[in-house]
Subunit: 360 residues, 4 copies
């Protein structure tokens, strides 16, 4: 951490900053004095709250060098983390495909979609009981108990692990009891700390999306909430939950032609910054099934560990409407992603050589 | 609602759309046929889920005319809503000032700040027990019970109503029991539907911020969650909570010199679109206390019903650091805001004449 | 300027950076060595090209302290600049109103609008001959010579100075010959350096808008192009043009309800960062004449030195359409802006005390 | 085009809109009358200026169906356009690689980089004489004549066609005389209409970037400026220049970890919307050479017709700094892009079947 003092800051103000950093965090400082003063904090300043330092008299700005999202950062954990989802591996050298219906609407539609997804070659099945909606008038899913019953049936029918989004933290135990293999956190809950704290206390792997208003640092700090198990009073609880899979989906921008702006540079960047597995969601980023296939290929070629995408059960309707193409093409998409992944295995990330190292 | 069919859509597809809108919503349609077909839905289509219509075969796009955020919309409620906060009126012709410390850190700091805020002339006191933070390592507030005790003491000391942010929905009863007069929903919870649904079942007024990734429509839909009392199955519960005060704070943009981009045009626009009281937060939008005063004046001149801002208890420290100026200037800021508000009362919103009408 | 070296940077790499800064810019450095090395550049580093430094081997990042936009920065010019526009003063303690038709469409419409603008009390008249358009099929203005004739007639008719936007740099002489009192640079030309360089060689005051994709630093760097008169080879020409008036209009964001997001915090911020006069454009920022009046009041209350807005000549049409309200209300808007400005003269910018100092 | 009339619009206002569309554009309308009136314009409304219609009394909003960027739109030109750049083909089934130094700094550096680029397998060589810069103090390139001499030498040395960015429109003839094979338009000139108009009058192919504040429609409208040859008065000149290659580079967003946000969905989307060849720039979008390789693979897998990227001449320096990796890896990157392109030829764009059709 580097602290730049304002023009005209007094030597007392400089000393005050140095004393506070020693007192609160046990870290020593050194200075460069010119027209203004630069204070360099020596040692790892990951948990220093720069907001509190920047409030001190005479401080112009605080420049953070060590990332705040310590638990999720590759700086402190050099090798790729590989996560086991009921026998399916995610991260490191593996390519993992998550797919299935956007939401469970009925038993028939859910089981049809599940079979189609298994035939297409997905590794983990989407079985979404709740649907987070912007408007209270829109469809928010079946009744919880009924939805979880169908999710269980989808798992039994296909033999695949299932992923389901948890919105209401009071439903966590019901999800665990129903045998959900991966719990997903969606955009609208992505910074809701009470939910993240609950997830830090269980042993089920998590897929963590980011809010469409969050930058990379906020996203990885949300991962740190789940991983650290630090509670409100700053105490680490017995354990955190380190099985976090990041899922990128893009952010809001002024471009309205696509649903979100899924910055392709974020894929290799997040791979460099974090040791966690990184998947991406071509369905929700593009918002248009005509674009999904090529966007999926782009994500994999850029270095994603996998994809989560929507597969629909109604190929008849798909035949007369281009929008439903992903029903028909799911198998081809999975196959081509595997070919791209195999072709580029280990290529092009040498500058962060440890990035591609298999986890121990 | 207008539906534009894609080039090449069949007459069967057109009929299918018309039939679905009749079947699901009981609304009739009419068409204009040219190179492509335009379908006009007759009547109020506020609760039609355009997502479900746009999925139908042959549909190119759906254009919503009636806003989705029905309960919050001025279309369905022409006159300004005025909300009573323990005797303080918010909205309509009133100017209301919410102020106090950003967070309760200790009894001494909280009571000092409370007295300073009362002297400055605020109407409702900030008494924030919880602090939502991006990083799990940052300060998240005192222990809940202790924090609420101090909040109660602030209220007793000043005789002012208090506002406090509720993050964990499981703490709602404790907030109500502690006599919190207004419950605030913050950016990170602004689309967390289980919390919004809980707030629809109480009688305490709400201040609703928007997420920094939310647009106007998403914000007003969040208000509709609280106001409608519609539950997951689409049933209206016994009552919703119509006492919602909107608080604007700006959104993220590519400009990094200010914390958020607080679009001044949103103030008169939201006044036109919604009948709810609208306040703004100059402290969190600008992120720099040097800017707060003039930003506050800007919001009031643009038509806001009030301001919520941070007042700090340490004038001594403020004297040696320009950042703390709001401590010293709070009284002057409140006074000037009242002068601007009085000078412009009722001016410049004629084109939406009902906007300024006093509530019944 | 502070340079942070990457983990593992060698002492040779550190020395290489220090040597380059001495060789290219004659500035000395000092270091703090810890896990990584921090290099502090001593002295004013405004013109150092941080891009070239950040390319050097071993450099992690370069942190600029002194703003790049030297000529426009208050750091190097403490007092407000006041600009004389043919007798009308802009900046410092003055409030200046620029107004008139968005574009000249015919002699009749132009002269009618001009008279209406003079009666409303504007100080400088908009007389826009060219119109920059996104699409080649949209109206781009009358033929140049005819347009300038009408502009001249508007000036003669009202006795007011005129402002006109210059798009094609090859028309500069024609503008000067026609007696244009202020030349405006629009959003689409705001970073077109050949035009900015031409404007640095004349004596006519400039109103400089920013591109809707530009941040504050890019905007003030464009001002520095005009003010510095530095040519392509880095040589200062005989003189630059220091008479630059900044005009804020907002940027693109994901909010689509308003045309641009005009961040109100930018008004007091730019006042602090630059000594140049700062006006704002409520017509083009909000994109909706129903919002213009209150947005104008917001800008002035926040500290703007004036407003440039569109006034229309067709009150009959305006009577039957709320959109044309600014025709009718122009006089009231100007009057209320003057009242707000007078009421707040010198208030609330103490923390940057020099900001409000009258220019010598 | 669909026009929605405001609530309370009179039948005279409706008729006035219908009359104006007939009078100005010769197009007929039909209406649907309900609580409000919907007007459907019959026929192709590409060149209707919706801004003029939306100003008419009683109009609520205008919904454009036919894209404005007519010349660039696939709606009016179904098959892929293939452009010949001095024997190198761009677009359709071809993959084309543009590469070389970011700017010419000296003869030695330029020729070394040129040879390296040829060995890496690029098809067209970057030979950039001018450099557009945000700050007037930054390096803006060698003196024009000297720069063009070196560009000519790079072409002679390698036998490859060259691409060079034209900033100052007064230099166009010098570029043509120097044998520049493709003229590039950069971000800061991307909406500067006098330059676009000049380029519509020559026969040299153009690479058109978009401004970092432009959306897709503005970008394709800029292409339409070059292609249409429509002048200021709306008259088509003898010919336009239809040889336009689009180059995507991403836009500004609130994410600051990458230079621009390069939305991967834009690649297949622009392929669908326009018949023009589409390449992408992984160097300037990511802003970090550690990310370039994987971003390049992502663009190609998503459907880009090629890449333009920076190749540096100093492999020695690159060896001691990860940032310079593109020097060393250029050959491998080109090779892998060709493998990805071959593997996915024609896959996944069926829903827009004409997209992949070879040009005649």
């Amino acid at each position: 951490m580097i602290i730049h003092m304002a023009e005209g800051a007094t030597s007392d103000q400089v000393q005050h900053v140095i004393d506070r950093i020693m007192r609160d965090y046990g870290l020593r400082c050194e200075t460069i004095v010119s027209d203004t003063t630069v204070i360099g904090v020596k040692g790892i300043a990951a948990i220093v709250d720069e907001g509190r330092i920047s409030e001190l008299p005479g401080v112009d700005r605080v420049i953070r060098i060590t990332e705040k999202f310590k638990d999720a950062s590759r700086t402190f954990h050099h090798e790729d983390t590989v996560i086991d989802v009921s026998g399916v591996r995610v991260g490191g050298p593996h390519l993992t495909v998550f797919g299935g219906p956007c939401a469970i609407e009925s038993e028939q539609q859910a089981l049809d979609s599940a079979r189609m997804a298994r035939e297409a070659g997905v590794d983990v099945l989407r079985a979404f009981v709740d649907k987070s909606r912007t408007s209270p008038y829109d469809y928010r899913g079946l009744e919880l108990r009924r939805g979880l019953e169908i999710a269980r049936a989808m798992k039994a029918e296909t033999g695949l692990p299932i992923v389901s989004e948890l919105i209401d933290l009071r439903h966590l135990q019901a999800f665990v009891d129903a045998g959900v293999d991966v719990i997903q956190v969606g955009a609208r809950s992505a910074q809701y700390s009470p939910l993240l704290e609950e997830l830090s206390r269980i042993n089920v792997p998590i897929i963590l999306k980011h809010g469409f208003g969050n930058d990379m640092s906020e996203w990885l700090c949300a991962a740190a909430y789940i991983m650290s198990g630090v509670d409100r009073e700053g105490r680490a609880t017995a354990h955190g939950n380190t099985s976090v899979i990041l899922c990128y989906r893009g952010i809001k921008s002024f471009e309205s032609e696509t649903r979100f702006s899924a910055d392709i540079s974020m894929i290799p960047l997040v791979r460099t910054k974090s040791h966690l597995p990184l998947i991406a969601d071509p369905s929700h980023s593009s918002g248009d099934r005509k674009l999904v296939e090529r966007v999926a290929y782009g994500f994999i070629a850029a270095g994603a560990h996998g994809i989560e995408f929507d597969i629909h059960s109604n190929p008849a309707e798909a035949l007369c409407d281009g929008k439903q193409a992903v029903g028909r093409e799911a198998g081809r998409i999975v196959e081509n992603m595997r070919r791209i992944h195999a072709m580029l295995a280990g290529v092009g990330m040498e500058s962060g050589a440890t990035v591609m190292a298999p986890a121990k």
